[in-house]
Protein backbone atom coordinates (compact mmCIF):
# COMPACT_ATOMS: atom_id res chain seq x y z
CA UNK A 1 0.00 0.00 0.00
CA UNK A 2 1.25 3.48 -0.81
CA UNK A 3 0.75 6.42 1.50
CA UNK A 4 1.79 10.02 1.03
CA UNK A 5 2.84 12.18 3.97
CA UNK A 6 3.52 15.89 4.19
CA UNK A 7 5.69 16.90 7.14
CA UNK A 8 8.14 19.54 8.32
CA UNK A 9 11.60 18.74 7.02
CA UNK A 10 13.38 19.07 10.39
CA UNK A 11 11.67 16.19 12.13
CA UNK A 12 12.85 12.57 11.64
CA UNK A 13 9.20 11.57 11.39
CA UNK A 14 9.78 8.38 9.40
CA UNK A 15 12.45 7.09 11.80
CA UNK A 16 10.22 7.79 14.81
CA UNK A 17 7.26 5.95 13.24
CA UNK A 18 9.40 2.93 12.35
CA UNK A 19 10.78 2.78 15.88
CA UNK A 20 7.32 3.18 17.43
CA UNK A 21 5.46 0.68 15.22
CA UNK A 22 8.27 -1.73 14.32
CA UNK A 23 6.89 -1.83 10.73
CA UNK A 24 9.38 -2.12 7.82
CA UNK A 25 8.49 0.93 5.75
CA UNK A 26 10.06 1.52 2.32
CA UNK A 27 10.63 5.09 1.08
CA UNK A 28 9.67 5.08 -2.59
CA UNK A 29 10.00 8.76 -3.42
CA UNK A 30 10.80 11.94 -1.50
CA UNK A 31 10.40 15.52 -2.69
CA UNK A 32 11.85 17.91 -0.13
CA UNK A 33 12.09 21.67 -0.49
CA UNK A 34 12.86 24.60 1.80
CA UNK A 35 9.66 24.38 3.80
CA UNK A 36 8.27 20.87 3.71
CA UNK A 37 8.66 17.31 2.52
CA UNK A 38 6.27 15.17 0.53
CA UNK A 39 7.15 11.51 0.77
CA UNK A 40 5.60 8.40 -0.78
CA UNK A 41 6.00 5.28 1.34
CA UNK A 42 5.37 1.61 0.73
CA UNK A 43 3.71 0.02 3.78
CA UNK A 44 2.58 -3.63 4.18
CA UNK A 45 -1.22 -3.67 3.69
CA UNK A 46 -2.01 -5.14 7.11
CA UNK A 47 -0.03 -2.40 8.92
CA UNK A 48 -1.39 0.50 6.90
CA UNK A 49 -3.95 1.87 9.35
CA UNK A 50 -1.53 1.61 12.28
CA UNK A 51 1.27 3.36 10.43
CA UNK A 52 -1.04 6.11 9.11
CA UNK A 53 -2.22 6.83 12.67
CA UNK A 54 1.38 6.95 13.93
CA UNK A 55 2.27 9.53 11.25
CA UNK A 56 -0.77 11.63 12.13
CA UNK A 57 0.27 11.55 15.78
CA UNK A 58 3.66 12.94 14.69
CA UNK A 59 1.84 15.85 13.03
CA UNK A 60 2.17 14.65 9.43
CA UNK A 61 -0.82 14.71 7.09
CA UNK A 62 -1.47 11.34 5.49
CA UNK A 63 -3.27 10.31 2.31
CA UNK A 64 -3.59 6.71 1.20
CA UNK A 65 -3.00 6.11 -2.53
CA UNK A 66 -5.83 3.67 -3.25
CA UNK A 67 -4.95 3.27 -6.90
CA UNK A 68 -1.23 3.70 -7.41
CA UNK A 69 -1.51 2.61 -11.04
CA UNK A 70 -4.45 3.24 -13.35
CA UNK A 71 -5.13 1.46 -16.66
CA UNK A 72 -7.29 2.86 -19.45
CA UNK A 73 -9.25 -0.23 -20.54
CA UNK A 74 -10.03 1.31 -23.97
CA UNK A 75 -6.37 1.86 -24.77
CA UNK A 76 -5.07 -1.47 -23.44
CA UNK A 77 -4.72 -4.11 -26.17
CA UNK A 78 -3.47 -6.81 -23.77
CA UNK A 79 -0.14 -7.12 -25.54
CA UNK A 80 1.73 -7.82 -22.29
CA UNK A 81 4.65 -5.44 -22.83
CA UNK A 82 4.25 -4.26 -19.21
CA UNK A 83 4.75 -7.72 -17.74
CA UNK A 84 8.50 -8.27 -18.06
CA UNK A 85 9.61 -4.75 -17.14
CA UNK A 86 7.71 -4.50 -13.83
CA UNK A 87 9.99 -5.04 -10.81
CA UNK A 88 7.02 -5.79 -8.53
CA UNK A 89 5.21 -8.26 -10.80
CA UNK A 90 1.99 -6.25 -10.87
CA UNK A 91 0.99 -7.61 -14.30
CA UNK A 92 0.20 -11.16 -15.25
CA UNK A 93 -1.65 -12.96 -18.05
CA UNK A 94 -4.99 -14.51 -17.19
CA UNK A 95 -6.15 -17.80 -18.74
CA UNK A 96 -7.78 -15.96 -21.64
CA UNK A 97 -4.55 -13.99 -22.34
CA UNK A 98 -5.90 -10.71 -21.06
CA UNK A 99 -3.48 -8.82 -18.83
CA UNK A 100 -4.54 -8.63 -15.17
CA UNK A 101 -3.23 -6.03 -12.72
CA UNK A 102 -2.61 -6.43 -8.97
CA UNK A 103 -2.29 -2.75 -8.05
CA UNK A 104 -1.52 -3.50 -4.39
CA UNK A 105 1.97 -4.58 -5.47
CA UNK A 106 2.74 -1.39 -7.41
CA UNK A 107 5.66 0.69 -6.14
CA UNK A 108 5.11 3.47 -8.68
CA UNK A 109 8.47 3.15 -10.42
CA UNK A 110 6.79 4.20 -13.71
CA UNK A 111 8.63 1.75 -15.99
CA UNK A 112 5.39 0.21 -17.26
CA UNK A 113 4.01 3.65 -18.16
CA UNK A 114 6.69 4.19 -20.81
CA UNK A 115 6.92 0.51 -21.76
CA UNK A 116 3.23 0.45 -22.76
CA UNK A 117 3.08 1.10 -26.54
CA UNK A 118 -0.49 2.41 -26.26
CA UNK A 119 -0.12 4.82 -23.33
CA UNK A 120 -2.72 2.88 -21.35
CA UNK A 121 -1.04 3.20 -17.95
CA UNK A 122 -0.73 6.13 -15.57
CA UNK A 123 0.85 6.41 -12.14
CA UNK A 124 -1.43 8.28 -9.71
CA UNK A 125 0.40 11.02 -7.88
CA UNK A 126 -2.56 12.41 -5.91
Amino acid sequence: MMIRISAAVQDPVIARVILATGVAINVDRANIDATSGEIVLEVPADACARVARAFEQEGASVSVLEHPIIRDEDECVHCGACISVCPAQVFIFEDDWRVAMDESKCIQCGTCVTACPHGALRVMRE
Binding site: H78, C79, G80, A81, I83, S84, W97, P117
Partner: protein, 498 residues
Protein backbone atom coordinates in the same frame (compact mmCIF):
# COMPACT_ATOMS: atom_id res chain seq x y z
CA UNK B 1 -4.21 -37.99 -51.81
CA UNK B 2 -7.53 -36.40 -50.95
CA UNK B 3 -8.05 -32.99 -52.48
CA UNK B 4 -10.64 -30.22 -52.46
CA UNK B 5 -10.86 -26.95 -54.34
CA UNK B 6 -11.48 -23.43 -53.15
CA UNK B 7 -14.67 -23.35 -55.26
CA UNK B 8 -16.06 -26.41 -53.46
CA UNK B 9 -15.31 -24.83 -50.12
CA UNK B 10 -16.96 -21.58 -51.18
CA UNK B 11 -20.12 -23.52 -52.13
CA UNK B 12 -20.21 -24.92 -48.60
CA UNK B 13 -19.67 -21.44 -47.17
CA UNK B 14 -22.60 -20.11 -49.19
CA UNK B 15 -24.92 -22.86 -48.00
CA UNK B 16 -23.71 -22.56 -44.42
CA UNK B 17 -22.19 -26.03 -44.15
CA UNK B 18 -18.49 -25.18 -44.02
CA UNK B 19 -16.56 -26.44 -40.99
CA UNK B 20 -14.18 -23.73 -39.84
CA UNK B 21 -11.56 -24.05 -37.09
CA UNK B 22 -9.16 -21.49 -35.73
CA UNK B 23 -5.48 -22.45 -35.95
CA UNK B 24 -5.47 -23.26 -32.21
CA UNK B 25 -8.48 -25.56 -32.64
CA UNK B 26 -6.77 -27.16 -35.67
CA UNK B 27 -3.67 -27.94 -33.60
CA UNK B 28 -5.88 -29.85 -31.12
CA UNK B 29 -7.85 -31.49 -33.97
CA UNK B 30 -4.68 -32.79 -35.67
CA UNK B 31 -3.59 -34.48 -32.42
CA UNK B 32 -6.74 -36.64 -32.52
CA UNK B 33 -7.31 -37.10 -36.26
CA UNK B 34 -5.38 -38.08 -39.36
CA UNK B 35 -4.58 -35.65 -42.17
CA UNK B 36 -6.92 -37.61 -44.40
CA UNK B 37 -9.80 -37.12 -41.98
CA UNK B 38 -8.94 -33.42 -41.75
CA UNK B 39 -9.22 -32.97 -45.50
CA UNK B 40 -12.62 -34.67 -45.43
CA UNK B 41 -14.01 -32.81 -42.42
CA UNK B 42 -12.30 -29.42 -42.06
CA UNK B 43 -12.85 -26.75 -44.71
CA UNK B 44 -11.03 -23.65 -43.47
CA UNK B 45 -8.51 -22.84 -40.74
CA UNK B 46 -8.39 -19.20 -39.65
CA UNK B 47 -5.26 -17.49 -38.35
CA UNK B 48 -4.75 -14.14 -36.66
CA UNK B 49 -2.13 -11.69 -35.46
CA UNK B 50 -2.15 -8.24 -33.86
CA UNK B 51 1.23 -6.61 -33.44
CA UNK B 52 3.44 -3.70 -34.38
CA UNK B 53 3.83 -3.52 -38.15
CA UNK B 54 6.13 -0.59 -38.84
CA UNK B 55 6.19 -1.01 -42.60
CA UNK B 56 2.59 0.13 -43.12
CA UNK B 57 0.80 3.15 -44.45
CA UNK B 58 -2.13 4.51 -46.40
CA UNK B 59 -2.69 6.04 -49.85
CA UNK B 60 -5.12 8.95 -49.69
CA UNK B 61 -6.82 11.08 -52.33
CA UNK B 62 -8.27 14.32 -50.99
CA UNK B 63 -10.08 15.60 -54.05
CA UNK B 64 -9.27 19.00 -55.64
CA UNK B 65 -9.84 22.36 -53.90
CA UNK B 66 -10.76 25.58 -55.73
CA UNK B 67 -8.45 27.26 -56.73
CA UNK B 68 -6.59 23.96 -57.24
CA UNK B 69 -3.24 23.01 -55.73
CA UNK B 70 -0.53 20.55 -56.68
CA UNK B 71 0.64 19.57 -53.20
CA UNK B 72 4.41 19.60 -52.75
CA UNK B 73 4.42 19.30 -48.96
CA UNK B 74 1.45 17.99 -46.99
CA UNK B 75 0.88 17.54 -43.25
CA UNK B 76 -1.97 15.68 -41.56
CA UNK B 77 -2.28 16.73 -37.91
CA UNK B 78 1.30 18.01 -38.28
CA UNK B 79 2.52 14.61 -39.50
CA UNK B 80 4.17 14.83 -42.89
CA UNK B 81 2.93 12.57 -45.69
CA UNK B 82 4.63 12.00 -49.04
CA UNK B 83 2.82 13.81 -51.81
CA UNK B 84 5.04 13.72 -54.89
CA UNK B 85 2.30 11.78 -56.57
CA UNK B 86 0.31 14.00 -58.93
CA UNK B 87 -1.67 16.80 -57.33
CA UNK B 88 -3.76 15.55 -54.40
CA UNK B 89 -2.52 12.00 -53.81
CA UNK B 90 -0.40 11.24 -50.76
CA UNK B 91 1.08 8.29 -48.87
CA UNK B 92 1.16 8.53 -45.10
CA UNK B 93 3.67 6.17 -43.45
CA UNK B 94 2.95 4.69 -40.05
CA UNK B 95 6.25 5.68 -38.45
CA UNK B 96 6.39 9.37 -39.42
CA UNK B 97 6.50 11.54 -36.29
CA UNK B 98 4.53 14.78 -35.82
CA UNK B 99 6.43 18.06 -36.20
CA UNK B 100 5.03 19.29 -32.90
CA UNK B 101 4.37 16.23 -30.72
CA UNK B 102 6.90 13.41 -30.60
CA UNK B 103 4.35 11.03 -29.03
CA UNK B 104 2.01 11.27 -32.09
CA UNK B 105 2.63 10.06 -35.61
CA UNK B 106 1.43 8.41 -38.81
CA UNK B 107 -0.01 5.37 -37.05
CA UNK B 108 -2.09 7.62 -34.80
CA UNK B 109 -3.37 9.70 -37.75
CA UNK B 110 -4.44 6.49 -39.50
CA UNK B 111 -6.21 5.29 -36.34
CA UNK B 112 -7.91 8.69 -35.98
CA UNK B 113 -9.07 8.60 -39.61
CA UNK B 114 -10.57 5.13 -39.20
CA UNK B 115 -12.25 6.22 -35.96
CA UNK B 116 -14.02 8.98 -37.89
CA UNK B 117 -12.13 11.89 -36.31
CA UNK B 118 -11.38 15.08 -38.23
CA UNK B 119 -7.79 15.63 -39.31
CA UNK B 120 -6.12 19.01 -39.93
CA UNK B 121 -4.66 19.15 -43.44
CA UNK B 122 -1.96 21.65 -44.35
CA UNK B 123 -0.42 21.72 -47.82
CA UNK B 124 2.12 23.93 -49.58
CA UNK B 125 3.17 24.44 -53.15
CA UNK B 126 5.27 26.82 -55.23
CA UNK B 127 2.36 27.09 -57.66
CA UNK B 128 2.00 26.58 -61.41
CA UNK B 129 -0.22 28.14 -64.10
CA UNK B 130 -2.68 25.25 -63.86
CA UNK B 131 -2.32 24.78 -60.09
CA UNK B 132 -1.94 28.37 -58.89
CA UNK B 133 -2.65 27.77 -55.17
CA UNK B 134 0.32 27.97 -52.86
CA UNK B 135 -1.17 27.27 -49.42
CA UNK B 136 -4.07 25.15 -48.19
CA UNK B 137 -5.49 24.62 -44.70
CA UNK B 138 -8.61 22.55 -44.17
CA UNK B 139 -10.05 19.69 -42.10
CA UNK B 140 -11.00 16.29 -43.49
CA UNK B 141 -12.60 13.14 -42.14
CA UNK B 142 -12.42 9.74 -43.85
CA UNK B 143 -15.76 10.16 -45.65
CA UNK B 144 -14.46 13.36 -47.27
CA UNK B 145 -11.70 11.42 -49.02
CA UNK B 146 -12.13 9.88 -52.45
CA UNK B 147 -9.91 6.96 -51.66
CA UNK B 148 -8.26 5.79 -48.46
CA UNK B 149 -6.36 2.59 -49.15
CA UNK B 150 -4.14 0.86 -46.63
CA UNK B 151 -1.10 -0.55 -48.43
CA UNK B 152 1.49 -2.16 -46.22
CA UNK B 153 4.85 -3.16 -47.70
CA UNK B 154 5.69 -5.64 -44.94
CA UNK B 155 3.23 -7.34 -42.55
CA UNK B 156 2.62 -10.58 -40.70
CA UNK B 157 6.14 -11.86 -40.31
CA UNK B 158 6.14 -15.67 -40.33
CA UNK B 159 7.90 -15.45 -36.95
CA UNK B 160 10.18 -12.93 -35.31
CA UNK B 161 13.33 -13.00 -33.20
CA UNK B 162 12.97 -12.48 -29.46
CA UNK B 163 15.06 -9.73 -27.89
CA UNK B 164 17.24 -9.36 -24.83
CA UNK B 165 20.01 -6.97 -23.76
CA UNK B 166 23.49 -7.78 -22.45
CA UNK B 167 24.54 -4.13 -22.11
CA UNK B 168 24.91 -2.27 -18.81
CA UNK B 169 22.08 0.19 -19.43
CA UNK B 170 18.45 -0.04 -20.52
CA UNK B 171 18.08 -0.17 -24.31
CA UNK B 172 14.95 1.37 -25.86
CA UNK B 173 14.17 -0.44 -29.11
CA UNK B 174 11.37 -1.41 -31.51
CA UNK B 175 11.23 -4.56 -29.39
CA UNK B 176 10.31 -2.42 -26.40
CA UNK B 177 12.20 -1.60 -23.23
CA UNK B 178 15.07 -4.08 -22.76
CA UNK B 179 16.44 -4.17 -19.23
CA UNK B 180 20.22 -4.43 -18.76
CA UNK B 181 22.20 -7.63 -18.29
CA UNK B 182 19.51 -9.98 -19.60
CA UNK B 183 16.87 -8.36 -17.37
CA UNK B 184 13.99 -9.41 -19.64
CA UNK B 185 13.10 -10.92 -23.00
CA UNK B 186 10.47 -9.49 -25.35
CA UNK B 187 9.00 -11.29 -28.34
CA UNK B 188 6.58 -10.65 -31.17
CA UNK B 189 4.19 -12.76 -33.26
CA UNK B 190 1.22 -14.94 -32.42
CA UNK B 191 2.97 -18.32 -32.68
CA UNK B 192 0.33 -21.03 -33.22
CA UNK B 193 -2.06 -18.41 -34.69
CA UNK B 194 0.52 -16.81 -36.98
CA UNK B 195 -0.69 -16.79 -40.62
CA UNK B 196 2.49 -17.76 -42.49
CA UNK B 197 3.59 -20.21 -39.75
CA UNK B 198 0.44 -22.17 -40.60
CA UNK B 199 1.29 -22.23 -44.33
CA UNK B 200 5.09 -21.85 -44.49
CA UNK B 201 5.30 -23.23 -48.03
CA UNK B 202 2.74 -20.75 -49.33
CA UNK B 203 0.51 -23.48 -50.68
CA UNK B 204 -2.62 -21.37 -50.19
CA UNK B 205 -1.45 -17.84 -49.32
CA UNK B 206 -0.65 -15.99 -52.54
CA UNK B 207 -1.30 -12.88 -54.62
CA UNK B 208 -5.02 -12.16 -54.33
CA UNK B 209 -5.73 -14.16 -51.17
CA UNK B 210 -8.64 -12.46 -49.43
CA UNK B 211 -7.90 -11.66 -45.77
CA UNK B 212 -9.14 -9.91 -42.62
CA UNK B 213 -7.20 -6.67 -42.26
CA UNK B 214 -7.90 -3.92 -39.77
CA UNK B 215 -11.46 -5.14 -39.20
CA UNK B 216 -12.42 -5.23 -42.89
CA UNK B 217 -11.76 -7.41 -45.91
CA UNK B 218 -8.57 -6.94 -47.88
CA UNK B 219 -6.01 -8.85 -49.88
CA UNK B 220 -2.49 -10.18 -49.97
CA UNK B 221 -0.92 -8.43 -52.97
CA UNK B 222 2.48 -10.08 -52.92
CA UNK B 223 5.32 -11.08 -50.68
CA UNK B 224 6.32 -8.35 -48.27
CA UNK B 225 9.66 -6.58 -48.37
CA UNK B 226 12.60 -8.48 -46.86
CA UNK B 227 10.69 -11.72 -47.64
CA UNK B 228 13.10 -14.45 -46.55
CA UNK B 229 11.46 -17.88 -46.85
CA UNK B 230 14.84 -19.69 -46.97
CA UNK B 231 15.33 -18.70 -43.33
CA UNK B 232 11.72 -18.96 -42.23
CA UNK B 233 11.08 -15.22 -42.26
CA UNK B 234 8.36 -14.88 -44.89
CA UNK B 235 6.39 -11.62 -45.03
CA UNK B 236 3.24 -10.33 -46.74
CA UNK B 237 2.40 -7.16 -48.63
CA UNK B 238 -1.24 -6.37 -47.88
CA UNK B 239 -3.96 -3.93 -48.86
CA UNK B 240 -7.44 -3.00 -47.72
CA UNK B 241 -10.05 -0.24 -47.86
CA UNK B 242 -9.58 2.02 -44.84
CA UNK B 243 -13.25 2.99 -44.99
CA UNK B 244 -14.24 -0.56 -43.97
CA UNK B 245 -11.81 -0.85 -41.07
CA UNK B 246 -12.25 -0.53 -37.31
CA UNK B 247 -10.03 1.36 -34.87
CA UNK B 248 -10.14 -1.72 -32.64
CA UNK B 249 -7.78 -3.42 -35.11
CA UNK B 250 -5.60 -0.50 -36.26
CA UNK B 251 -3.85 1.35 -33.45
CA UNK B 252 -1.08 3.95 -33.41
CA UNK B 253 1.71 3.02 -31.02
CA UNK B 254 4.67 4.69 -29.36
CA UNK B 255 7.79 2.78 -28.34
CA UNK B 256 9.48 4.89 -25.64
CA UNK B 257 12.71 6.47 -26.88
CA UNK B 258 12.42 4.55 -30.15
CA UNK B 259 9.54 6.00 -32.14
CA UNK B 260 6.11 5.61 -33.62
CA UNK B 261 4.58 2.43 -35.02
CA UNK B 262 1.16 0.99 -35.80
CA UNK B 263 -0.48 -2.19 -34.60
CA UNK B 264 -2.43 -3.91 -37.40
CA UNK B 265 -4.81 -6.84 -37.01
CA UNK B 266 -4.52 -9.42 -39.78
CA UNK B 267 -6.25 -12.76 -40.23
CA UNK B 268 -5.58 -15.13 -43.15
CA UNK B 269 -7.92 -18.06 -43.95
CA UNK B 270 -6.31 -21.34 -44.98
CA UNK B 271 -8.48 -23.64 -47.11
CA UNK B 272 -7.74 -27.28 -46.21
CA UNK B 273 -7.33 -28.55 -49.76
CA UNK B 274 -5.03 -31.52 -49.20
CA UNK B 275 -3.13 -33.44 -46.53
CA UNK B 276 0.05 -31.37 -46.70
CA UNK B 277 -1.95 -28.23 -45.99
CA UNK B 278 -3.80 -29.93 -43.12
CA UNK B 279 -0.55 -31.06 -41.50
CA UNK B 280 1.02 -27.61 -41.83
CA UNK B 281 -2.04 -25.95 -40.29
CA UNK B 282 -1.75 -28.23 -37.27
CA UNK B 283 1.54 -26.61 -36.19
CA UNK B 284 1.86 -25.87 -32.45
CA UNK B 285 3.80 -23.30 -30.40
CA UNK B 286 6.29 -26.02 -29.42
CA UNK B 287 7.15 -26.52 -33.10
CA UNK B 288 7.67 -22.85 -33.96
CA UNK B 289 11.19 -21.88 -32.99
CA UNK B 290 13.01 -18.60 -33.08
CA UNK B 291 16.18 -17.10 -31.63
CA UNK B 292 16.75 -14.80 -28.68
CA UNK B 293 18.99 -12.04 -30.05
CA UNK B 294 21.17 -9.69 -28.02
CA UNK B 295 19.98 -6.19 -28.97
CA UNK B 296 22.59 -4.86 -26.55
CA UNK B 297 25.04 -5.26 -29.42
CA UNK B 298 23.63 -2.82 -31.98
CA UNK B 299 24.83 -4.48 -35.17
CA UNK B 300 22.84 -5.49 -38.26
CA UNK B 301 23.26 -9.11 -37.13
CA UNK B 302 22.73 -9.34 -33.40
CA UNK B 303 24.56 -12.08 -31.49
CA UNK B 304 22.37 -15.15 -30.93
CA UNK B 305 21.90 -15.90 -27.25
CA UNK B 306 19.99 -19.15 -27.76
CA UNK B 307 17.22 -20.82 -29.72
CA UNK B 308 13.77 -20.88 -28.15
CA UNK B 309 10.25 -22.10 -28.98
CA UNK B 310 7.12 -19.95 -28.85
CA UNK B 311 5.86 -22.37 -26.20
CA UNK B 312 8.77 -21.43 -23.94
CA UNK B 313 8.34 -17.73 -24.67
CA UNK B 314 4.61 -17.87 -23.87
CA UNK B 315 5.28 -19.68 -20.59
CA UNK B 316 6.52 -16.36 -19.24
CA UNK B 317 10.04 -17.52 -18.31
CA UNK B 318 13.07 -18.58 -20.34
CA UNK B 319 16.43 -19.85 -19.12
CA UNK B 320 19.48 -17.86 -20.15
CA UNK B 321 22.71 -19.45 -18.86
CA UNK B 322 21.02 -20.72 -15.72
CA UNK B 323 19.22 -17.46 -15.02
CA UNK B 324 15.39 -17.36 -15.12
CA UNK B 325 14.44 -14.40 -17.29
CA UNK B 326 10.88 -13.10 -17.57
CA UNK B 327 9.38 -12.72 -21.03
CA UNK B 328 6.65 -10.57 -22.38
CA UNK B 329 5.10 -10.30 -25.81
CA UNK B 330 4.60 -7.09 -27.74
CA UNK B 331 1.85 -8.65 -29.88
CA UNK B 332 -1.53 -9.22 -28.30
CA UNK B 333 -2.43 -12.92 -28.29
CA UNK B 334 -5.83 -12.00 -26.91
CA UNK B 335 -6.63 -9.89 -29.99
CA UNK B 336 -4.97 -12.37 -32.35
CA UNK B 337 -7.40 -14.98 -31.05
CA UNK B 338 -10.29 -12.54 -31.36
CA UNK B 339 -9.34 -11.90 -35.01
CA UNK B 340 -9.10 -15.63 -35.83
CA UNK B 341 -12.54 -16.10 -34.25
CA UNK B 342 -14.02 -13.07 -36.02
CA UNK B 343 -12.78 -14.33 -39.40
CA UNK B 344 -14.22 -17.74 -38.52
CA UNK B 345 -17.58 -16.12 -37.75
CA UNK B 346 -17.55 -14.21 -41.07
CA UNK B 347 -16.96 -17.43 -42.96
CA UNK B 348 -19.53 -19.47 -41.01
CA UNK B 349 -22.12 -16.71 -41.49
CA UNK B 350 -21.43 -16.66 -45.23
CA UNK B 351 -20.10 -13.06 -45.16
CA UNK B 352 -16.62 -14.01 -46.38
CA UNK B 353 -15.69 -16.28 -49.27
CA UNK B 354 -12.17 -17.47 -49.97
CA UNK B 355 -10.19 -16.51 -53.05
CA UNK B 356 -7.71 -18.77 -54.80
CA UNK B 357 -4.51 -16.83 -55.42
CA UNK B 358 -3.68 -15.52 -58.89
CA UNK B 359 -0.04 -16.46 -58.34
CA UNK B 360 1.97 -18.18 -55.64
CA UNK B 361 4.38 -16.31 -53.41
CA UNK B 362 8.08 -17.22 -53.73
CA UNK B 363 8.88 -20.25 -51.61
CA UNK B 364 12.62 -19.74 -52.04
CA UNK B 365 14.69 -16.66 -51.62
CA UNK B 366 16.45 -14.60 -49.03
CA UNK B 367 17.06 -10.95 -48.24
CA UNK B 368 20.20 -8.90 -48.98
CA UNK B 369 21.99 -6.32 -46.84
CA UNK B 370 22.48 -2.78 -48.11
CA UNK B 371 25.38 -2.19 -50.45
CA UNK B 372 27.88 0.23 -48.88
CA UNK B 373 30.48 2.16 -50.87
CA UNK B 374 32.21 3.82 -47.94
CA UNK B 375 34.19 1.93 -45.33
CA UNK B 376 32.96 2.22 -41.76
CA UNK B 377 35.62 3.06 -39.20
CA UNK B 378 36.39 0.86 -36.22
CA UNK B 379 37.74 1.68 -32.77
CA UNK B 380 41.10 0.22 -33.80
CA UNK B 381 41.36 3.04 -36.40
CA UNK B 382 40.94 5.66 -33.65
CA UNK B 383 42.42 4.28 -30.45
CA UNK B 384 45.74 5.01 -28.86
CA UNK B 385 47.78 1.89 -28.13
CA UNK B 386 50.07 3.54 -25.54
CA UNK B 387 48.04 3.15 -22.38
CA UNK B 388 49.35 3.69 -18.85
CA UNK B 389 47.74 1.35 -16.32
CA UNK B 390 48.06 0.86 -12.56
CA UNK B 391 47.59 -2.05 -10.17
CA UNK B 392 44.72 -1.96 -7.69
CA UNK B 393 47.04 -2.18 -4.66
CA UNK B 394 48.98 0.94 -5.73
CA UNK B 395 48.55 4.11 -3.69
CA UNK B 396 46.45 7.07 -4.77
CA UNK B 397 49.60 9.27 -4.71
CA UNK B 398 51.20 6.97 -7.29
CA UNK B 399 48.09 7.29 -9.48
CA UNK B 400 48.29 11.08 -9.19
CA UNK B 401 51.98 11.06 -10.22
CA UNK B 402 51.27 8.86 -13.27
CA UNK B 403 48.41 11.09 -14.41
CA UNK B 404 50.42 14.31 -14.07
CA UNK B 405 53.50 12.85 -15.78
CA UNK B 406 51.49 11.36 -18.67
CA UNK B 407 49.06 14.25 -19.10
CA UNK B 408 45.94 12.11 -19.52
CA UNK B 409 42.67 11.74 -17.57
CA UNK B 410 41.73 8.06 -17.50
CA UNK B 411 43.83 5.40 -15.75
CA UNK B 412 42.67 1.76 -16.09
CA UNK B 413 43.20 -0.37 -12.97
CA UNK B 414 44.44 -3.96 -13.31
CA UNK B 415 44.23 -6.96 -11.00
CA UNK B 416 47.17 -9.23 -10.06
CA UNK B 417 46.78 -11.23 -13.27
CA UNK B 418 46.72 -8.13 -15.44
CA UNK B 419 42.98 -8.03 -16.26
CA UNK B 420 40.89 -4.86 -16.15
CA UNK B 421 38.96 -4.49 -12.87
CA UNK B 422 38.41 -0.74 -12.55
CA UNK B 423 39.21 2.77 -13.70
CA UNK B 424 40.25 6.00 -11.96
CA UNK B 425 40.00 9.45 -13.48
CA UNK B 426 41.94 12.61 -12.64
CA UNK B 427 38.72 13.78 -10.97
CA UNK B 428 38.61 10.70 -8.68
CA UNK B 429 42.25 11.27 -7.72
CA UNK B 430 41.76 15.02 -7.06
CA UNK B 431 38.78 14.26 -4.78
CA UNK B 432 40.79 11.65 -2.85
CA UNK B 433 43.79 13.96 -2.43
CA UNK B 434 41.54 16.84 -1.28
CA UNK B 435 40.05 14.52 1.38
CA UNK B 436 43.51 13.44 2.50
CA UNK B 437 42.77 9.86 1.44
CA UNK B 438 46.11 7.99 1.51
CA UNK B 439 44.74 4.55 0.72
CA UNK B 440 44.94 2.41 -2.40
CA UNK B 441 43.52 2.96 -5.86
CA UNK B 442 41.11 0.07 -5.19
CA UNK B 443 39.13 2.24 -2.76
CA UNK B 444 38.41 5.10 -5.17
CA UNK B 445 38.18 3.35 -8.53
CA UNK B 446 34.98 2.79 -10.50
CA UNK B 447 34.44 -0.96 -10.72
CA UNK B 448 31.81 -1.22 -13.49
CA UNK B 449 34.02 -0.15 -16.38
CA UNK B 450 32.34 0.57 -19.71
CA UNK B 451 34.72 -0.83 -22.32
CA UNK B 452 35.13 -1.16 -26.07
CA UNK B 453 36.78 -3.66 -28.40
CA UNK B 454 39.05 -3.00 -31.41
CA UNK B 455 36.43 -4.23 -33.91
CA UNK B 456 33.59 -2.07 -32.57
CA UNK B 457 32.24 0.60 -34.95
CA UNK B 458 33.21 4.11 -33.80
CA UNK B 459 29.52 5.14 -33.99
CA UNK B 460 28.72 2.55 -31.33
CA UNK B 461 31.69 3.58 -29.15
CA UNK B 462 30.63 7.24 -29.46
CA UNK B 463 27.05 6.43 -28.46
CA UNK B 464 28.29 4.38 -25.46
CA UNK B 465 30.24 7.39 -24.19
CA UNK B 466 27.29 9.73 -24.73
CA UNK B 467 24.76 7.46 -22.99
CA UNK B 468 27.02 6.74 -20.00
CA UNK B 469 28.26 10.36 -19.84
CA UNK B 470 31.94 9.44 -19.99
CA UNK B 471 34.75 10.60 -22.26
CA UNK B 472 36.94 7.53 -22.70
CA UNK B 473 36.64 3.78 -23.10
CA UNK B 474 39.44 1.30 -22.32
CA UNK B 475 39.77 -1.09 -25.27
CA UNK B 476 40.05 -4.71 -24.16
CA UNK B 477 40.67 -8.07 -25.83
CA UNK B 478 38.74 -11.29 -25.15
CA UNK B 479 40.84 -11.93 -22.02
CA UNK B 480 40.04 -8.51 -20.56
CA UNK B 481 43.58 -7.27 -21.14
CA UNK B 482 43.79 -3.56 -21.91
CA UNK B 483 45.19 -3.06 -25.41
CA UNK B 484 44.23 0.54 -26.05
CA UNK B 485 42.20 3.60 -25.05
CA UNK B 486 39.75 5.57 -27.16
CA UNK B 487 38.57 9.01 -26.10
CA UNK B 488 35.70 11.21 -27.29
CA UNK B 489 38.39 13.55 -28.62
CA UNK B 490 39.84 10.76 -30.79
CA UNK B 491 36.37 9.98 -32.20
CA UNK B 492 35.43 13.61 -32.80
CA UNK B 493 38.51 14.06 -34.97
CA UNK B 494 37.52 11.08 -37.12
CA UNK B 495 33.80 11.78 -37.32
CA UNK B 496 34.31 15.44 -38.25
CA UNK B 497 36.77 14.60 -41.00
CA UNK B 498 34.21 12.36 -42.69
Amino acid sequence: MAAKTVSEINEKIKDGSALVLTAEEMTDYMREHSAEQAVREVDVVTTGTFGAMCSSGVFLNFGHPDPPIRMQRVYLNDVEAYTSLAAVDAYLGATQVSESDESYGGGHVIEDLIAGREIDLHAESSGTDCYPRRMLDTRVAIDDLNQAVMLNPRNAYQRYAAATNSARRVFYTYMGTLLPEFGNVTYSGSGVLSPISNDPNFRTIGIGTRIFIGGGQGYVIGNGTQHDPDNGFGTLMTCGNLKNMSARYVRGALFHKYGISMYVGIGVPIPILNEDIAIAAGVSDAEITTEILDYGVPRRTHPVVREVTYEELRSGIVDIDGKEVRTSPLSSFYLAREIANELKRWIVDGEFVLSAPAERLPVRGTTKPMREVREQLLVQDAMSECVRTIHSHAGIKQAAELIIKGNFNHLPVLSEDGTLIGIVTSWDVSKAVARGDGSTVKNVMTKNVITSTPDEFIEIAARKMEKHKISALPVIDSNRKVIGMVTSGDLNKLLVRR
